[in-house]
């Protein structure tokens, strides 16, 4: 076997190890501050937000086809790990980001809510796809018409199912929220009122 010739392949595969051609590679920007020999002074909230937003641990709650798209999103081609979400956790207690992907039947509603309650603050939620966002085509007595009827949602990803790019876009939107979140937000009256509106202590 010789080396694969990219020109003869249906879809050329590019190796970015040496970054030939000098393609621009975005890396996360360190938040600004004053620094000098042996010291750094910046805003704590920015530093924490920077750290959190680039190490989100997703908890996939996948019930249907959106979950299949999520598998593609996590796999090597789309590779959500590039955004710091390498580590998919299957224990709610370890995770920051609940990703609800798929139709949630009313009977599953309490289960989803319990999973949410088991996550520690701060926690974020993405509703991936039409079903999780609104019930989708399942306008029927047995299906929850959007998970925001039982838990608060930060980002909605449209699509039926959404492509992996859309899921990545949703995760990046959450990263923006996480990076800019005030450290006091979870203690705010507004946040407490939101939780109370869902009957969550």
């Amino acid at each position: 076997m010789g080396r694969l010739n990219p020109m003869t392949m249906a879809r050329p595969v590019q190796f970015n190890v040496k970054n030939e051609g000098g393609k621009k590679v975005d890396i996360s920007q360190f938040p600004g501050g004053y620094q000098g020999e042996g010291f750094f002074a910046g805003k704590m909230s920015e530093l924490v937000g920077w750290g959190r937003s680039n190490s989100l641990w997703p908890l996939p709650f996948a019930t249907s086809c959106c979950g299949i798209e999520f598998m593609a999103t996590m796999a090597s081609h789309y590779d959500l790990a590039r955004f710091g979400s390498e580590r998919v956790g299957f224990s709610p207690r370890q995770c920051d980001l609940l990703m609800v992907m798929g139709t949630i039947a009313k009977k599953m509603g309490p289960v989803l809510k319990q999973v949410y309650l088991q996550m520690a603050e701060p926690r974020w939620v993405i509703a991936v796809g039409a079903c999780a966002s609104s019930g989708g085509i399942f306008d029927t007595y047995s299906v929850l018409q959007g998970i925001d009827q039982i838990i608060p949602v930060d980002v909605y990803v449209p699509g039926c199912p959404p492509r992996p790019e859309a899921i990545i876009d949703g995760v990046m939107k959450v990263q923006d929220l996480v990076g800019q979140e005030s450290l006091r937000r979870r203690n705010s009256e507004q946040y407490k009122a939101l939780m109370e509106s869902y009957g969550i202590e």
Binding site: K106, K107, G109, G135, D139, T140, Y141, S142, V143, Q145, Q149
Partner: protein, 168 residues
């Protein structure tokens, strides 16, 4: 003995007489109707008879016919003779205001969950069932969703008012 529709009909009328009605063979499947009071007797006969041996309850479901007054709910038993690979269908009808039917759980263990499902969606009360409660829907549900007087759509939504969504 070949379990032809003619043979099955002759055995049933020999045993139950005029109680066996609406005999037909739609799409090659022998089908008949009996009064709901003797559903267990017929099932037991079909089970025990050495020639018939219908010992597998494949399916149990209901149908709602709102226009048939006094016999709105149909209950359909699908039975299977595993040795001869013959399937038959038995129907009983009941009044929707008093949907009491004897349970087949003593005869078929598989009837347990199937009767719970039929109760869940149509509200048929299986007399003698050991654990007759909802199986698929949420327990708080206070109606039987597959009865035709109830709309399919979730009624908590207010954003879909188009008549295409059944809320015109």
């Amino acid at each position: 003995m070949d379990l032809s529709p003619e043979y099955l009909q002759s055995r049933l009328t020999e045993k139950f007489g005029d109680a066996v009605t609406a005999v037909d063979t739609p799409y090659g499947m022998f089908t008949f109707e009996v009064p709901k009071e003797i559903n267990l007797k017929v099932l037991q006969f079909l089970y025990d008879d050495p020639e018939l041996q219908f010992r597998f309850l494949t399916d149990l479901c209901a149908v709602h016919y709102p226009e048939k007054k006094g016999r709105e709910l149909a209950l359909v038993y699908h039975l299977h003779n595993m040795r001869k690979n013959v399937r038959i269908r038995m129907k009983i009808y009941t009044d929707i205001n008093q949907p009491d039917v004897y349970t087949a759980t003593a005869l078929f263990s598989s009837a347990n969950w199937q009767e719970r499902e039929t109760y869940d969606f149509y509200g048929i009360n299986f007399v003698g069932h050991p654990n007759l409660k909802r199986i698929l829907n949420v327990e708080e549900m206070d109606y039987f969703p597959l009865r035709k007087e109830y709309p399919l759509e979730d009624q908590t939504r207010i954003d879909k008012d188009d008549e295409m969504f059944g809320r015109g």
